[in-house]
Symmetry: C2
Subunit: 466 residues, 2 copies
């Protein structure tokens, strides 16, 4: 086994790969080997793409090679979509050709009772410097360089890295983030995780400019892997927040995780304590993951003061305050000086504590005026803007005011919005088009805000920018 430094260098090739081979490429419709090749072409990969299939001399307009070793130039990555029994010899070729990383999409290894075959491919890879992602995985994607070595749909390029064993979970999350306009900077489905582990990919992302936030979906960890992950995490979280969904924490979930990828789930309480100590942000569901990473991706600052909720609807304000406090974030009344200023803008029956409840008086203009006060007041650390349009208010106008005022103050404080009710679709799209986070649920909104306070504590307020 090569040195850690050597491994790092090889794995980081994933982020700046200049050549990729598709072993099992085929022109046949509906085949994985065709989908992957098509995706690489459609994603606009700038490097060389080498189809590998001895039956064809050309596939989808690209010259096809009979084997990895017959390719003339260097091959940074090989993605493999052929029957499991044929994979070991491909690994031999990869060693001979000095390929950096082999991504094995093929199923039929330990998850199918063939642990022997899985051990065999790792054993052969170790004869050289070849690292394996997979097998039984959904592939990798680096949208910033047009590298989409997966049969999954293309992702919108963005700033969130997604890492985990379950391709389906990561892809569903990528879809959520793509549809919300946040987008993906890196995607790696590890499948059975025979070789490359989560912690190694987290480590290479520390220098990946496109990545601002790392989302980890963990079902279980190998012997000794937890300690490695925590060590890497402590280093990485200083510059990039890492959000973790640790699944399989119930007995049924643990049993399912075991049957799914052969991972033992372990005690959730143990994981939770250790993860928190290392500065990881924990979530227990995919929608919360989406709300949290969107918020962290689009906010450049950390809070230095209390969270303030601005709403035109009591019920939504109360519910978000409930969840914030249950997550350990205090929502104290706003200071008297600020309260006096706000009170001049609203009628006497408005809520002037925290939440600030504007009632039906919540016109776009009033939203703007109070947002300015909140952005100016040094006691205010973060802002939650809730809007549930009454019939006479146009939600889009409120959305425009939020974007304008937040920009006017150079987005100097973290802000998240929660729009709900009839006719808010256009407003939500406008907010997302302008990189303003819009939470999906009250709880997700609270969890996002709680996460940034947690993160601010973790990095010891060493810096004011993420």
């Amino acid at each position: 086994m090569s040195s850690l430094a050597g491994e790092e260098i090889m794995l980081s090739q994933l982020l700046r790969a200049e050549s990729i081979a598709v072993v099992g490429a085929t022109p046949k419709e509906g085949k994985i080997g065709r989908m992957v090749l098509e995706n690489l072409i459609r994603a606009g990969f700038k490097g060389r793409i080498y189809p590998v299939n001895p039956r064809y001399s050309e596939i989808l307009g690209l010259k096809s090679y009979p084997s990895l070793t017959s390719i003339p130039g260097k091959v940074d990555i090989a993605v493999v979509a052929i029957p499991a029994d044929m994979v070991p010899s491909v690994i031999d070729d990869a060693v001979a050709k000095d390929v950096g990383v082999v991504v094995v999409l093929s199923a039929g290894f330990s998850e199918a009772g063939r642990a022997d075959l899985e051990e065999e491919i790792v054993r052969r890879a170790r004869k050289g410097n070849v690292r394996i992602i997979g097998p039984n995985c959904a592939g990798i994607s680096v949208p910033g360089i047009g590298l989409h070595a997966s049969f999954e749909e293309l992702f919108k390029p963005g700033s969130v890295a997604l890492i985990g064993q379950s391709g389906a979970y990561l892809t569903a999350l990528a879809e959520l983030l793509s549809s919300r306009g946040v987008g993906v900077s890196f995607y790696a489905s590890l499948g059975n995780r025979a070789d490359v582990g989560e912690e190694e990919l987290v480590e290479i992302l520390v220098d990946h400019d496109d990545t601002r936030v790392i989302a980890l979906y963990v079902e279980g960890l190998r012997e000794g892997q937890g300690a490695k992950l925590l060590k890497v995490a402590k280093k990485v979280v200083v510059s990039k927040p890492i959000v973790v969904h640790k699944a399989g924490w119930s007995s049924a979930g643990a049993r399912a995780a075991l049957s799914h990828t052969g991972s033992l789930a372990g005690s959730y309480e143990v994981y939770k304590a250790a993860f928190k100590q290392a500065g990881l942000i924990l979530v227990d569901d995919m929608d919360l993951m989406a709300d949290v990473v969107e918020f962290l991706a689009w906010n450049n600052t950390l809070p230095r003061g209390i969270p303030v909720i601005l709403t035109n609807s009591g019920g939504h304000g109360v519910t978000i305050a409930d969840h914030l406090e249950s997550l350990g974030v205090k929502v104290p009344p706003i200071p008297k000086e600020l309260r006096d200023k706000v009170s001049k803008l609203l009628p006497p029956h408005a809520g002037l504590s925290n939440p600030i409840d504007m009632l039906a008086e919540g016109t776009p203009e009033k939203y703007g005026e109070i947002l300015r006060l909140l952005l100016e007041d040094a006691n205010v650390g973060s802002i939650i803007v809730i809007h549930n349009p009454p019939p006479m208010i146009n939600a889009l106008e409120v959305a425009k005011v939020i974007v304008n005022v937040w920009d006017e103050y150079n987005r100097s404080k973290p802000l998240i919005s929660f729009f709900t009710g009839f006719n808010v679709g256009e407003a939500v799209r406008y907010l997302r088009d302008n990189n303003v986070p819009v939470a999906l649920t009250h709880r997700g909104c609270a969890k996002a805000v709680a996460s940034i306070y947690e993160y601010a504590e973790v990095i010891g307020r060493k810096t004011l920018t993420l």
Copy 2:
């Protein structure tokens, strides 16, 4: 104060009203009085509509009356949208005219420091048999009879009743339910809740055929109201499940609830224990409320056996199993006999415990075959179907199979679906068009299933139908 029996009779007029007056009706665009009148006309109310405004002889094509007392026929309901100071004299007129229920939309009462004015309108109503909903509320709606006495958008008629103080919360929930195709049977925003309380409306719904499920949003209860609500609930839950979101359980939330509607929130733990004992189903967020009531509205049976998760994706199955167990619902392995039957349909590396993980072998046909086995096996009490389409599977085809097979077995067991990932929009619409519940989140899916087990226990399995 009239007898309880008398009150009940009057309030139940809401559900079969034949005449409604709009006090403060106006042809002026953007005014509440016009919106309410327009909504009544647009909703297709079959009864008589009487605009009341001395300045006009006709409004929107309807004859206008100078006052309630000048209306020739009977008036079941009066909805009021005039300045607060003018409301007391309208209550006098309502007493004189023997109007059943007056819905006061006007603000400017206790929430604006005018508790005196609020007490005054109740005092005057007590001189006769008039009941007041509001003031400072968003109105009422009974979509089944085209009665939409509110400035909020029309709701899709359906089977869920929504009751609570916060108009915005209820309307946002109504929008969620309308967009999901479930729809609304009854809506009452109580605002400051000067007179009619939640428990009285819950009580009249026991005989409302359109209502299958009752959704309650509670911020706080008046002195003595809790006991009344629990008494009514015990009676009603036998035929209709009641789902409650009790908000204002944090200190910030309680403070906000107090400023919002003058309600004291009280200790959540006390509420929680009492609510559970009375058979109420508790949720702590609006999206969970939507997932739970959709599931209860579209399922006609109670579970008599274990929940079984059928998935084509390990990660989603694990996550839902986690949440089910955290909610107290065990997800045991499926019995050996069933396991043997399922195993014949799937390759050896599929997950055969619970979740049943079909992997990429999850074709529409396989979904159908295994669903049939689950619907036939007496040990299976409820079914959760997860689908995250891989590129070669059309999610819509899977949706069609679910509808067909569930119908084939007369929907004899509770079923809920969770579709996620790329290109599932059409499938989700198809499922909802066919009254198949589709959960929004993993947690919501688990909460819905947990709720029906909880409910089954509550009603002591006296009956197999809701």
